[in-house]
């Protein structure tokens, strides 16, 4: 396959070198090159490149810029919390630090354009200058006129400059309401499975054969491809789990060619990895340590989400239970659940047909403090005085973000809360105080 880039305006050797670093991205690089044209020619004022994360947007641009030695400024919009940082970086990489220091302390766009014009009239562009903005979606949160101005920067500064925006979000979500200069859109498609395989197989381990490594990648993709197509993530997972894959080979139990046995060995391990290390429940360091100590079963170590158990005072637990019940039960069922002598309620009437969706689907409902306290007194068996400590416990539950205060209109008079804990959490809590919470939940009542 002749996978090389070719272009009239550039040195062939450099192009060759660049194309070697861009596996599976020759088409996009070629398209980009043809848009850029020859270095001394004018390029389209702004180019918008979109595609999924880790589809090689920045990489392609970086390689091209570096290998072809084009003047460029790469700016990450995450770093530029204020526009002055952005302007400084651009001027710095085009004209050196003198230009950057000639900006006033809080520069406006007008200042930037003025300084840029001054500088470019002293050293006019012999080649197209490129400003590459990564994570361009953050530009939308900046001043309203920054993005439209950047899009027509070429016209404003009258210099051979092109702004390239990189983003994961489509251009439709960027357009300001009075319109702007439309950039040229360029899509970087996702890597197909074959391409992923090809790229991942590049970083094979030197002490094993290439086929061995690519069969490993094949298994890895078999497990993870349906969930994750992010090259970075996959590469990270491949690096983490390779030592486990080679283990039977190094101990001599299995030969390199026995793919099926290797697969049997690694597959449950990878499935476990999806639930732990892929979700960052277990850090990669912990994961590696776990692989070291063989006797402990992987996953025996508790992940992040297993640490949700919180030690609470006795009454706080009941307060939280009461809040949960108040949040997830309709108020009209309270009588049935919490009153000792509630009289007879007809079942058909009680289970209203029109309540189609359960609260566990819709999320917690807000409730008033009174209702919560009423439920609290009903579920606690002993007599509890409404002391200051009870009320301060409520507000400390809010600070722990186990409860959320809904409306801020009044702090003292009739505050409203929502319960912000999950069912599993509240079950664990109620188990510690021997309270069967499921019996009191309306959503689970229908089966009994």
């Amino acid at each position: 396959m002749t996978g090389s880039l070719q272009h009239l305006g550039y040195d062939e050797e450099k192009l060759q070198r660049a194309s070697q670093q861009l596996p599976c991205r020759e088409v996009q690089a070629g398209m980009l090159l043809s848009l850029m044209g020859q270095p001394q020619q004018y390029c389209y004022p702004s180019v918008f490149i979109y595609g999924h994360g880790a589809s090689g947007k920045s990489h392609v641009l970086n390689v091209l810029m570096k290998e072809l030695e084009l003047p460029h400024a790469t700016v990450s919009c995450v770093e530029c919390v204020s526009v002055s940082l952005l302007f400084e970086q651009v001027l710095l990489s085009f004209f050196g630090c003198d230009a950057a220091s000639s900006l006033p302390r809080t520069p406006s766009l007008s200042d930037f354009v003025r300084v840029y014009r001054q500088q470019s009239s002293q050293s006019p562009a012999k080649q197209t200058r490129y400003i590459i903005m990564e994570k361009a979606e953050l530009l939308r949160d900046a001043e309203a006129n920054l993005l439209p101005a950047l899009l027509r920067l070429q016209e404003l500064v009258e210099d051979n400059v092109t702004v390239i925006l990189l983003s994961e979000i489509v251009w439709d979500q960027f357009r300001p309401n009075t319109g702007c200069f439309e950039p040229l859109l360029l899509h970087f498609p996702d890597y197909s499975k074959g391409e992923l395989q090809q790229i991942l197989s590049h970083d094979a381990h030197p002490s094993y054969s290439a086929e061995f490594y690519s069969s490993y990648i094949n298994i890895l993709l078999g497990v993870f491809y349906s969930v994750c197509r992010d090259l970075r993530e996959l590469r990270h997972l491949a690096a983490l789990n390779f030592s486990k894959f080679c283990e039977p080979v190094t101990t001599g139990k299995v030969k390199e060619t026995e793919t099926h046995k290797l697969w049997k060995n690694i597959e449950p391990h990878l499935k476990k990895a999806m639930q732990t290390v892929y979700l960052r429940e277990v850090s990669s360091l912990q994961w590696e340590q776990m692989q070291q100590m063989e006797e402990t079963e992987t996953g025996a170590m508790r992940g992040l989400s297993a640490h949700t158990h919180v030690e609470l005072p006795y009454y706080s637990k009941f307060l939280l239970i009461a809040a949960y019940l108040a949040s997830y039960n309709p108020a009209r069922t309270d009588k049935r659940f919490f009153l000792k002598h509630h009289g007879k309620i007809r079942k058909t009437n009680f289970l209203k047909k029109n309540e189609k969706t359960s609260n566990h689907l819709l999320g917690p409902k807000p409730f008033s403090l009174d209702r919560m306290l009423a439920i609290f007194y009903s579920v606690v068996d002993s007599r509890v005085a409404p002391t200051a400590s009870i009320f301060s416990q409520i507000s400390s539950l809010v600070t722990l973000q186990l409860l959320a205060q809904v409306s801020h209109d009044d702090q003292l008079d009739g505050p409203k809360y929502k319960c912000a804990v999950s069912l599993d959490f509240i079950r664990a809590i109620s188990k510690t105080v021997n309270f069967d919470i499921v019996r009191y939940l309306y959503d689970f009542l229908l089966q009994f």
Binding site: Q6, V27, S108, L109, N145, K356, S358, L361, A420, Q447
Partner: protein, 492 residues
Amino acid sequence: MSKRKGKDTHLPIGECITQAQQILRERFCQRKLPDRPEGVEAQHRRLLELLRRTAIHGESNSVLIVGPRGAGKTTLLRCVLRELLEDKDVQKNLLQVHLNGLLQTDDRIALKEITRQLQLENVVGDKGSFAENLAFLLEALKKGDRSSSRPVLFVLDEFDLFAHHKNQTLLYNLFDVSQSAQAPVAVVGLTCRLDVLELLEKRVKSRFSHRQIHLLSSLTFPQYLERVRAQLSLPDHFPDPNFAQEWNADVKTLCEDKSVEEVLQRHFNSSKDFRSLHTLLVRLTGISPLVAVGSTRVIEHPVWNNPFQLPCLCRVSVSKPSIRPADLLDASRLCLADAKANMLHGLSILELCLVIAMKHLHDVYEGEPFNLQMVHNGTPTHLKEEGGGGEKERGFFSCFFCRTRLPRLEFKKFLQRKSNSMYNFEQPVVMKAFEHLQQLELIRPVDGSSAKTQREYQLMRLMLDHSQIMEALQKYPQCPTDVKQWAMSAFA
């Protein structure tokens, strides 16, 4: 490199291509001024006459040029100015101040820019406050009169943004000067908003002359075709006339091609301004064999693989450099591609399943917002778990389906079909996929208060429509049949 010996010199083909490319790029990217503006002769004459009266006779004027984006407002103004400045007197006399609403975001900055462009900085100095600067500038303008002082031309690009300044001080003062017998000024505003006069304050509006020049395109399709041809043709002064002739003939045949005409008609129907045409043509020069050959092209065209059929220099290019209809089709396809469908193509199968589930929810509940919990329970992934699990949750989920109006039959069928399914992901994995969708802004939270509610209960809206999802599903590489069936079932 080029050595021209006479009129009929043959440049090497690579050189020709470079030259042609240079010319076309200047046209499309740099937006070099055309020799004369097309289709706006009347407006051109009117504006020229107006500005000439200011420049020569010292008449104060104000005018607004209104037109949609890409309609050629700046081009018109620049053409007029170029023509105006051909006059030696005018060139010596006229002062120009160019302001842009994007750059001069408030009156203070605008004022500084005016003093700078009028080269009064050294007079004013750095110390002046805004009020002092304004007073000085007005003084300078007031002192002048029609006969003696030099006329000033103010060009306000993005005029509507100036109307958002506080109290519209700048606009008021500029129009005021143009109304009273002071130094002759012409205020030219360029804007794309048709309702721009409604933005002006009453006192500002009353001082404006209400002269408007509208640039609304009245282009017919044959004219559009002609314009495409003209834009692609090489000029007469091209160094290699033979090449230019051949090229222009090629372009002519290209424009007569039926399929090309169809494509252009589609573009014409969506918009007829210069700029969208240019984006198409830039892509064309990008794709066409004029410039570069990517690897796929080499594979596509067997001729190019055979080095003996090509002159050695043109390994890059082709034996006959011309734009083929296929190139234009390619360019148009790239231009008209749906970005969201492109993004859907790159989703993982789990994320696609989530999108389908959301679509179903959207259909059943007639556009009500949804949260992750609903989506998750609607996906096939959980149905399976529920069938096998048989714990407390089982009751909960099945009771959800009893209460919903979802077509139960469909779900049951799907469940049976999926009995040995491979999709049983944990809730956190699904959550991660859901968050990825949110990150791509394919779904959006209904309200911004994200901190208050738990992540799985946050209400969301789907930002895709029916046809986009269906199209993406058709194009999805190796889409499992059962997923496709599941998606179809509810659409029918």
